[in-house]
Symmetry: C2
Subunit: 131 residues, 2 copies
């Protein structure tokens, strides 16, 4: 990590794309792609034109990571991002979107667990020695 990253506020822009790639597990290509499609605000630039991401950018990427890890499609993440950009008037709608997504994730977990039972049963059968 760069020395410049040791101090500073949430909005101070200091991480290079390479550093952010390492921290988030996304590739530099993907970060630029996120920016291009609108998932990510255009980050600050250094005086040489290189991207410099802030703590706030990292936080946003981490949240996108949560959505992604729970299987939200990019199109829905984009919708959410646009609501955030649209300001406080969209808070209720954002909340509903997250709640609907949570329901889907819960349903997926239940589904996985149900299917897991069948797997367990099959594994048990193999543990004995018929069929």
């Amino acid at each position: 990590m760069s020395q410049a990253a040791v101090v500073g506020s949430e909005f101070e822009a200091r991480y290079t794309i390479g550093e952010v790639a390492e921290r988030t597990g996304l590739s530099a290509h993907t970060l630029r792609w996120y920016e291009r499609i609108g998932l990510l605000d255009h980050p600050a630039r250094s005086h040489h034109g290189q991207r410099r991401f802030s703590e706030a950018d990292l936080g946003w990427l981490a949240f996108l990571g949560n959505l992604r890890a729970t299987g939200m499609p990019v199109a829905a993440m984009l919708r959410y991002t646009e609501l955030v950009r649209a300001g406080d008037g969209t808070r209720a709608e954002r909340r509903e979107l997250l709640i609907a997504h949570r329901e889907e994730v819960l349903a997926r977990i239940r589904d996985l667990q149900a299917n897991l039972l069948v797997l367990d049963y099959k594994i048990d059968l193999y543990g004995q020695d018929c069929q």
Copy 2:
């Protein structure tokens, strides 16, 4: 469902591809594709050359459905299928394969639950009215 489906043994072949499609939720196209790539044994044929699936075929498809629903890639399902075809000598290996898969699924569930906590937190924040 056809009348012919009312009685008969596990190995009696009686379901048309359309009936199987309806029962499994897979399309007729996909069923033929499964057969072509080796996920499914060639089913019996009627005297006119049409596929006639047995109860046993349906059972196998249901099990494949479990694997699929837990996110097993087709390549791994194929590996498992080949082990089944190879006979009883592969039972230990099949069991290990299923156990390894179960571990992955459990890990995925844990991961979903962890990410869900963040979502819950965010939803809570929206429930109040800051940030």
